[in-house]
């Protein structure tokens, strides 16, 4: 009996292969997107963990000299006094490689160390000329500079570790940037602060990178969940249809003596098997998506936050299992309702496929109420909420609330149009369309979410880009930026620039703790460039006069938002040196606080700032000649940055940053289109009894198919119209709430109607494509089938 029942049940799928494909594909797509996003997130987190261990910054305190360095003698003296400290030197290799010099003998174990266990590895590491250790992706760039490099996957991408002596040789220095303090100090020593004038600081841990990147990952996770939800709509539609279509089979089986329990078990088993198959396919798909997107995600994280993420994807059982679990869970959620109804079905209940489509209609008012509640919650969060989590909850409540309201709004809209209808056909079409809203509502909600996300994220990215480009144009005013190799060369560079350039602006900066977090202080000389080029968000141009006189400082937006300090307040720059704030400037792309002061004042307090950086103003046409002259002085070409290059580099970083967002946008839209296809195919089969009378009344099949197409486009258009305000609201929340929480800057919102028009076109194309197949079938349907409607029981 079981066997026969199973055969009867499964034969349905043989007769409806497209339905089977829809079901499997929907579940696989949903699982795939979810798994892909999980894979990317877990890979990134693993990279942060590796970085935090490799850098040892997460846990250990340091000794630093504010604005200066630590000498070798100071290190030895502290060791001789019994304190366990270990020297670290940091440098940048051209090409943006962060080089760290360590002393493997004294580095505390918890500070992390490259793996030097291989025979001879430590000897090679510290014996001149010394070997640098870097990630396999980074090592070639180091070897290209003529340094020996060993590879280790535990070193983050873009970083290299060497012995103190090796880094000294490369940098020409013989001091340290800081001393790492071992967490456990020997017995009976006085507190470190009593024996040294170095400052003990707790460095910003790598956790901060995790903090900074949290919004990015939340973003991805939200995308993953959204795709999964959209996928679930598909699965729900496919499973629901299959159940309804098989009602007569169920009835027959039950009548033949199959128990309800066994029938439900068999169907649950069937669903589970599909879920397993689709889950496996989904995990494969997810791996593919992650592998394709990860390099861009890595580039994004590196460009935006300086967080190194390995571009290589490893298959982690954790996210594979999570993908599998979500596939099973999703199938269970989609099938649960149908199974529940089946279990309580009277043996001889009439088979009414139409009832299924209408059932969701009864929930419409309930959904609308829930939607309104969610929108109210979103409003409350906007007014009273704070923090990144609240920002994302606000986004979620807003999107889901609007989606839940959609069916009611569409129904109301169609009802409002009713009086406008002329003639029986259009009246019928409107009424019929309204009747279809419940059946299509899931797919339309998915479409609304996808469109709104597209509009919202697109608007955010474009607004960001527009603002960023304008800011770059102002900010990168000088034509050439030069970094000399040493102080002797710096003097030559300065002399050359004084002679040839219209103006020379020495750049002097020091690291400092601003408002308790790491930041930089820039010392500038008075020049019109700053008045022209540094966009002040708060304060007026007299701010620069005050800065030039040493009476005030201007700070960046990040410091302003984090500390709550604004014009009129006083900020402590170095211990014992505070200045009133005269203005706030925008400083996109920099997570740290910054302050600008008069250069002479900064140098007076921190005399040993490396005097190597210069900006030069010159006629753009003469820039190449000046550049050549600088190279003639022996300045490495990599140390001379052309304004144009910097701009194009910055924009390239920016564009790569949002490549992933774009890709996920497209994928979500694709899934939504698929949801529509699934729903329309489902409805098409069920609606035959409604269409057959019209055909019998003389309407051609082609005309009916045309009506179907028009209806799909109309639905898409109506949904799109509602998606625009929702998308704009989304963009506003992203720019003004989430951005401020995550990055510390607020961006103006720009509208891009041309983009919307393009998106509207895409939405209609998607709807047309989704409706095309059912419409085509209708157009080509054998008249006998339409006639059969009248002969059938229904």
């Amino acid at each position: 009996m079981t066997r026969a029942a199973l055969q009867a049940l499964l034969s349905h799928w043989l007769r409806h292969p497209l339905q089977l494909l829809t079901l499997l594909l929907g579940l696989a797509l949903a699982t795939g997107l979810w798994t892909g996003v999980q894979a990317i997130n877990s890979e990134a987190r693993a990279s942060y963990a590796a970085a935090s261990q490799a850098l040892g910054q997460g846990t250990l305190d340091r000794l630093v000299r504010p604005g200066g360095t630590v000498t070798a003698d100071e290190f030895t003296a502290l060791r001789a006094a019994g304190y366990l400290v270990s020297p670290v030197i940091e440098a940048q290799l051209p090409g943006g490689i962060d080089l760290r010099g360590i002393d493997p003998f004294t580095l505390p174990p918890s500070a992390g160390s490259p793996d030097l266990t291989a025979p001879d590895a430590l000897a090679r590491f510290m014996t001149p000329p010394g070997v640098l250790i870097a990630h396999p992706e980074t090592a070639p760039a180091i070897r290209a500079r003529g340094e020996a490099a060993d590879t280790s996957a535990t070193i983050p991408v873009g970083q290299a570790v060497g012995d103190i002596t090796t880094v000294w040789r490369i940098t020409g220095r013989e001091d340290f940037d800081h001393l790492v303090i071992a967490p456990q100090q020997p017995f009976g020593l006085a507190p470190l602060t009593e024996v040294t004038d170095l400052e003990q600081v707790t460095p910003t841990s790598q956790n901060d990178i995790a903090q900074l990147t949290r919004s990015f990952h939340l973003n991805l996770t939200a995308f993953g969940l959204l795709s999964f939800a959209v996928g679930l709509f598909i699965v729900h539609a496919a499973i629901g249809l299959a159940f309804e279509q098989r009602r007569s089979v169920f009835r027959t089986l039950r009548a033949l003596g199959l128990s309800t329990r066994r029938l439900v078990t068999l169907l649950a088993l069937e669903t589970a098997v599909f879920a397993v198959l689709a889950g496996l396919a989904g995990i494969g798909l997810g791996y593919l998506i992650a592998a394709l997107l990860l390099p861009d995600v890595a580039a994004t994280l590196r460009g935006l936050y300086g967080a190194s993420v390995d571009g290589q994807l490893t298959l982690d059982p954790a996210w594979a299992a999570s993908g599998f679990g979500i596939a099973l869970l999703g199938a269970a959620a989609a099938a649960g309702q149908s199974l529940w109804r089946l279990a309580r079905l009277p043996v001889l209940a009439p088979a009414r496929p139409r009832a299924w489509a209408m059932a969701s209609g009864r929930q419409q008012s309930f959904l609308a109420a829930a939607g309104i509640a969610l929108l109210v919650l979103a409003g409350a969060l906007l007014i009273w909420g704070s923090g990144l989590a609240a920002g994302f909850t606000l986004l979620g409540a807003m999107l889901v609330g609007a989606a839940l309201l959609l069916p009611s709004v569409l129904t109301a809209l169609l009802q409002a149009l009713q009086p406008v209808a002329r003639g029986p056909l259009s009246e019928w079409a409107l009424a019929d369309t309204r009747q279809q809203v419940p059946g299509l509502s899931l797919a339309l909600m998915a479409l609304l979410l996808a469109l709104a996300t597209n509009i919202g994220v697109g608007t955010m990215v474009s607004s960001f880009r527009l603002t960023f480009t304008g800011w770059l144009d102002q900010r990168l005013a000088a034509e050439l930026y030069v970094t000399a190799q040493d102080s002797v060369q710096a003097a030559e560079v300065a002399a050359l620039l004084d002679a040839r350039a219209e103006a020379t602006l020495p750049i002097r900066a020091t690291d400092a703790r601003l408002d308790g977090a790491p930041g930089q202080i820039f010392g500038v000389v008075d020049h019109q460039t700053y008045r022209d080029g540094w966009p002040l968000l708060l304060g007026d141009l007299t701010a620069w006069d005050a800065v030039a006189l040493g009476e005030a400082t201007v700070i960046n937006e990040q410091l302003h938002r984090r500390s709550g300090l604004g014009p009129g307040d006083t900020v402590e720059l170095l211990p014992g040196w505070s200045l009133p704030i005269a203005g706030v400037y925008s400083d996109y792309g920099n997570p740290e606080g910054q302050a600008i002061v008069a250069q002479s004042d900064l140098l007076a307090r921190v005399p040993d700032i490396s005097p190597l950086g210069y900006a030069a103003r010159i006629e753009p046409a003469q820039a190449p000649a000046l550049r050549a002259a600088l190279v003639g002085l022996g300045v490495p070409p990599a140390n001379i940055l052309n304004q144009a290059e910097v701009k194009s580099f910055s924009l390239a970083v920016f564009d790569r940053t949002f490549l992933v967002t774009g890709a996920l946008n497209l994928l979500t839209l694709g899934v939504a289109a698929f949801a529509m296809l699934a729903s329309l195919t489902t409805l098409a089969g069920m609606r035959l009894p409604q269409l057959a009378p019209l055909w019998a009344l003389g309407l051609t099949r082609n005309a009916l198919a045309g009506l179907e197409l028009m209806r799909a486009v109309a639905f898409a258009l109506a949904t799109f119209v509602m998606a625009v305000p929702l998308g704009l609201a989304l963009a506003w929340v992203l720019l003004s709430v989430v951005n401020v929480e995550a990055f510390g800057w607020r961006l103006p919102l720009h509208a891009f109607p041309a983009d919307w028009a393009r998106l509207a076109l895409w939405a209609m194309v998607a709807a047309l494509l989704a409706a095309a197949l059912p419409a085509l079938r209708l157009a080509r349907m054998a008249p006998a089938r339409l006639v059969k409607v009248f002969a059938d029981e229904r």
């Binding site: 003998f105 103190i164 000294w168 020997p186």
Partner: protein
């Protein structure tokens, strides 16, 4: 592999040659490329030879002390500075091939506390000088006057510290053939001399408080480039101070064949030495103790027929395990039998 293991293993790889002797690890290259080799008939010169010998691969300053506290309890103290070189040169910069490792320990009847330090030469963080006579790593320091008659010894770990004054009441003694100490039948040898006559007064600082102590200390100085035969797996080293005033240094070198090589020095109260040929000094384990997951003999029968010595040595604390990067057993022992007294025992190579 966690970070700690990585770091430890890395240092192990670097220092392995130096530790090979202390621990009896096999596998040290036969050839000592470029390093000086000990020669018979070498004339020592002081204070020069209290300082380092960078031309030799390994060298150590090794102090052990048997102490009695004002509280009546027995204590043991160890202080060791190892030098290990990758090449027989020292340019005095941070890139010098000379590296240093310090071990310090305090043993009480119910606790054994040990600490270690590492340093590169040239940084000034660790080193040794002949004039003034000084060996140090961080704030651990052994200083003395030029003839090793008066000195001071300090060290500090996470849970102990000590500060001891040393005062010698006897001369420096030379082991083997006037300081040329043979370590195997294959002829491997080291330069080896000692000051076994230190009287000690000072203070131990333990978590429970300061303890005034008095007792005796023994300084070993040894340097070589090629200390052990390839098959030698470990050693058991005894320094025994009898109540009669006589002293006995003896060691057993075990090898993979199960053969033993023994050597030793009989030292009379006036510092007259008598080198003991292979087989004269004998020690056999009587009792083993489970220490750090392995069985280690902590009670021994030590015999030297020529001098009528037949004694049993018992560890003050059988768990005197130096749980460091290079782990070994090192602790004070009590002597009973034909002679009585106190001493120190070092056992390496027990896997």
């Amino acid at each position: 592999m966690n970070v700690r293991t990585i770091v430890l293993a890395a240092v192990l790889a670097l220092l392995a040659p130096g530790i090979a002797l202390a621990q009896g690890f096999a596998g040290l290259g036969e050839a000592a490329d470029g390093f000086a080799l000990p020669e018979r008939g070498h004339a020592f010169e002081f204070p020069r030879d209290h300082g380092p010998h960078p031309e030799f691969r390994i060298e150590w300053w090794y102090v052990t002390a048997t102490l009695t506290g004002a509280d009546g309890r027995d204590y043991g103290v160890q202080w060791t500075l190892f030098r290990s070189a990758r090449a027989p040169t020292d340019d005095g910069t941070w890139a010098t091939p000379q590296v240093w490792m310090g071990h310090a320990a305090v043993t009480t009847p119910d606790a054994h506390r040990a600490a270690e330090r590492f340093a590169r030469g040239g940084a000034g963080q660790a080193g040794a000088t002949a004039t003034p006579t000084r060996a140090w790593i961080d704030d651990w320091e052994l200083t003395s006057d030029a003839d090793l008659s008066e000195g001071r010894l300090t060290a500090r770990g996470p849970d102990f510290a000590y500060d001891l004054s040393l005062s010698a009441d006897g001369p420096i003694v030379f082991h083997g053939d006037a300081g040329y100490s043979v370590k195997s039948t294959g002829g491997q040898a080291s330069y080896y001399f000692s000051q076994p006559f230190f009287e000690v007064t000072g203070t131990l600082t333990l978590p429970e408080g300061d303890i005034a102590v008095t007792g005796e200390a023994w300084l070993d100085r040894e340097y070589s480039s090629q200390p052990l035969g390839r098959t030698q797996t470990g050693w058991d080293w005894f320094s025994l101070s009898f109540d009669s005033g006589d002293k006995l240094m003896g060691f057993l070198l075990r090898d993979t064949e199960g053969d033993l090589f023994t050597a030793g020095t009989w030292i009379t109260p006036d510092g007259t030495t008598e080198a003991l040929p292979n087989g004269a000094f004998m020690a056999e384990p009587l009792e083993e103790t489970r220490v750090a997951g392995r069985d280690i003999p902590t009670t021994w029968r030590v015999t030297l027929r020529a001098k009528g010595v037949d004694v049993t040595t018992t560890a003050l604390n059988p768990q005197a395990w130096n749980d460091l990067v290079f782990a070994y057993w090192e602790g004070p022992i009590a002597i009973s039998g034909s002679h009585s007294g106190k001493g120190y025992l070092e056992m390496t190579g027990y896997e």
